[in-house]
Symmetry: C2
Subunit: 157 residues, 2 copies
């Protein structure tokens, strides 16, 4: 045994949580890929754009909401642009907007039901309503703590 700083209980809590996340993420992504050809990253961007006024947002704004660093967002937008899911449009002197295309919106709309169903099946249904709320509450505590910690690249607007 190499771990000396975490108790058995803490280590198990961490490993269980970590493995759960990894597996859940993988499953969600597989369903999404298989049914609609979208990755989790694609879906996140499309969902955020579809919720924005006029279906357009600045890349750095997207990055802040999604919690991504700028180069990740840039590469992602480039790949999505090649597939016709979004376009980049000039907006102002040195401003660029990421804009969801009709194809992007159609792809998203087609993907939503299956995605929601998979989230329900894998994440929501196995829990009681109380457990779900409790889990989300604790996750929120950890998330707040993380975001308050070292914003690294993604400063708050």
């Amino acid at each position: 045994m190499v771990q000396q700083r975490l108790t058995e209980r803490e280590l198990r809590a961490w490993r269980t949580s970590f493995q759960m996340l990894e597996l859940l993420r993988t499953r969600i992504e597989q369903q999404l890929q298989a049914d609609s050809g979208l990755s989790n990253a694609d879906y996140t961007v499309l969902a955020l754009l579809s919720e924005a006024p006029d279906g357009r947002m600045r890349p750095y704004e997207l990055g802040q909401v999604a919690g991504w660093e700028k180069s990740r967002m840039h590469h992602q937008l480039t790949r999505m642009g090649k597939r016709g899911l979004i376009t980049r449009e000039q907006c102002g002197p040195r401003g660029v907007d990421a804009v969801i295309t009709a194809k992007g919106l159609a792809t998203l709309k087609k993907a939503v039901p299956g995605h929601a169903q998979e989230i329900r099946r894998l994440f929501i249904d196995p829990l009681t309503a109380e457990e779900l709320d409790e889990f989300a509450r604790i996750a929120g505590t950890i998330l707040d703590n993380l975001q308050a910690d070292q914003p690294a690249d993604i400063g708050d607007a």
Copy 2:
């Protein structure tokens, strides 16, 4: 708003949990990379090998414990082999063992304290003991459900 199948409460629970786990994963990995040059994947393999008798395991066994598919494990072992963290040794007619090297063990031992400290700082300390237990319990419920669902590639031995 595009989501029609999940309630507002469910959607928020999902997004909070997902983003928290992603951010936590990223932070843990950054600390690990910066302090010891290891990725989460490297650390997982080294930790599992270090806990195995003689520091050796079959790749498919590693894959089962870690919950990885075989090609992911293969590529990972190849990369780690190039860096001298592990070696592959013939064992039996068609059997290969992944074996942790002295360098791999030393790297792991050097990485453990900082890694444990970061897990404590970001995941354990912000919660009460009761919250941590509750979180781990619920994560376990979801994980069990996932593993019972569609084992896909990683069948049980």
